[in-house]
């Protein structure tokens, strides 16, 4: 199984490289391919089982969009073909239609997802999130400069129970398209949510692979869930 990590030298903010480090513990036999920003993505010619991209700075986000633009149709084909993706934080917006700056100027995204994002650099949004994924509780932390507005037909990833979804009025957090999982939840999300991680591994065909440190992961999850329910 090949897992591609896009641009890890830049897309590694907010502890989210922990997601990939955890996947390495769960899937020690998998081949992890790190593609640098000046390299050719593995997915251009090959079909990785999972493609991961973590949050990045705003200037890097612009470079990443331009880097991926020539691969737009390839990415669409991979999404439609069921390849799994885990894009976290502002990596989600890269696939959207546009990102709007405070002055109204727009950065065109890849246009693969019907959503847009609006930046507000002097008002950072920080919040706790409690929701559900296929009926099981999901938690995470949000810390971002953008608010995202989904268009018609966008399928949410997590249903909001408490906290803020893609925006204050949105009933869901994150985006799902086939096996594309995009979420703003930080944590890292895979270490915070064992059932979600289990579902991702199942999609990768690793149904028989146990979660690394599963008992401890679930112990931490139970304590955190209690705290979220009591303090949110």
């Amino acid at each position: 199984m090949k897992i591609e990590i896009l641009f890890p030298e830049f897309c590694n903010l907010f502890g989210d490289s922990g997601n990939v480090r955890y996947l390495r513990k769960c899937l020690p036999q998998a081949e992890f391919v790190e593609t640098p920003l000046d390299g050719v993505p593995l997915f251009a010619e090959d079909a990785p089982a999972l493609i991961c991209m973590s949050p990045m700075s705003e200037r890097i986000q612009e470079k990443v969009i331009e880097k991926l633009r020539p691969y737009r149709s390839r990415l669409r084909a991979l999404i439609d073909g069921g390849t799994a993706f885990l894009f976290t934080g502002n990596a989600v917006e890269v696939l959207g239609e546009y990102i709007e700056n405070e002055d109204g100027s727009r950065l065109e995204g890849l246009g693969l997802l019907p959503l847009s994002a609006k930046r507000d650099m002097m008002h950072r949004h920080n919040s706790l999130f409690l929701g559900s994924f296929e009926g099981t509780p999901v938690m995470g932390y949000k810390s971002q400069f953008t608010t995202t507005y989904p268009g018609e037909g966008v399928r949410g990833l997590f249903q909001v129970e408490r906290g803020v979804g893609l925006n204050k009025k949105c009933p869901f957090e994150g985006v799902r398209d086939h096996n594309f999982f995009g979420t703003y939840l930080l944590g890292p999300v895979l270490l915070l949510n064992p059932d979600f991680t289990r579902a991702l591994l199942d999609i990768l065909g690793a149904q028989n692979v146990p979660l690394a440190f599963e008992e401890d992961l679930r112990g931490a999850y139970a304590q955190r869930l209690k705290d979220f329910r009591e303090k949110m």
Binding site: N12, F14, G15, G18, R21, M121, Q223
Partner: protein, 466 residues
Amino acid sequence: MRKNLRFYLALLCAKGTAAGLRLLGRKATNMPGSCAIRLCPDFLGRMPRPTRVIGVTGTNGKTSTSNMVEDMLASCGYDFICNGNGSNVDTGVAAALINHSTLLGKPKKDLAVFELDERSAPRILPYLRPDILLITNIFRDSYKRNAHVEFILDILNRYIPDSTRLILNADDLLCAGIRPENPRVYFGIDRQPDDGDTCRNIVQDVRVCPQCGGKLTWDFVRYHHIGRAHCPACGFASPSPKYRVIFTDPARRTMRVELAGVERELPLPNSSTINVYNSLAAVALLSEFGLPAEKLAAAMDKLAVSETRFNEEKVNGRSLVMHLAKGQNPIACSRAFENARDYPGKKSVLLFLDDFYDATHSVESTPWLYDTDFEFLNDENIASITVAGARHWDVFLRLLMAGVPREKIAHSGDTGRAVELTPTDGVDTVFILYDVFNIRFANGVRDQIRERLKALPPKEETAHED
């Protein structure tokens, strides 16, 4: 900006607030400033500034460095305004200026030294217009507040006045590149025996040449992006420091320093790399301020690192170390973990990383744990790790991810159990790593550990390689 009626009203209210607070036995180091800025949002711009203003900012080390600078200036007989006992945001600066001004706002002293929060630069720097600004370094800090280094750099580049003379860390390419048009000098530490050729940390925020975007060649890496590099493609290189440490002698607590071309030996209050940087930064700042080298050396001889940040004591032949490890700050914690690992002998380590107030009212954010090098604690000389606090399960999981054997780790949400969970027999040192908002609790634990160490049979001190 000129003084107006609103300014005078704000100043009057602030002075009244300060007088009231002092009657209540409070220091009035923040609220008067808060009151003034609430009534007059551009208060700092209208408040007369002392003739000379020195600022100290940066991600890590600004408090320690400011304390050193203030202590050295005081020991050299200077009288100055500072916010050493107050906050480093706009309200703390305003309070310090208010408390040392006449009824009409005229400063009573000619010199001011301010520690300045880098995130608050837009509300301070354009008004305060420091003559000299020392920037210690630029690293990732609280994600909720500071986001990422590019965000902080953009703020500093935008709000540092053109006229401000900068003193920058030559070994930090993020810091060294700030406001390239401003007058500047650099400080840095030469390659030392422990420095490597590659980064040994999770976080490394300088990946490409700041000029051409090409791949950098590192001459050495000290930690994270601290080190010296050059770009084979465009010829860019780390700047040459005017103030540089050539080597340190930890046993004698001295450092060999080149000050503007002249080598001399200076005392070191603490020999950890961070404190060498802080000491060197203070030396560079005060040299640029005009303090002669002889006076600098004499003033440094009297320095000590604040005991709220680092303290070690001997109990019955064993060491008991208190070391600040700022929660939510992955770099500061990584440095503290590396210091714990490198401390000689067998150790028990206690981790109190939760923010006490955050833990009380909210669920503290965990992402920073995965940018922090807990891997340093996976060391054969660390015999046990005790984790106590609200997020103990998350820290425990992070330690497992770092490869620490589970049998070495004890964890509990009940902080009262921390002492009983920590083995003290069979170790040379107990290392207490605590968040800044846990200091009172950590002090209590230290007292209990001290009593336990006193009850043990005396241990003969063994020689360790430092």
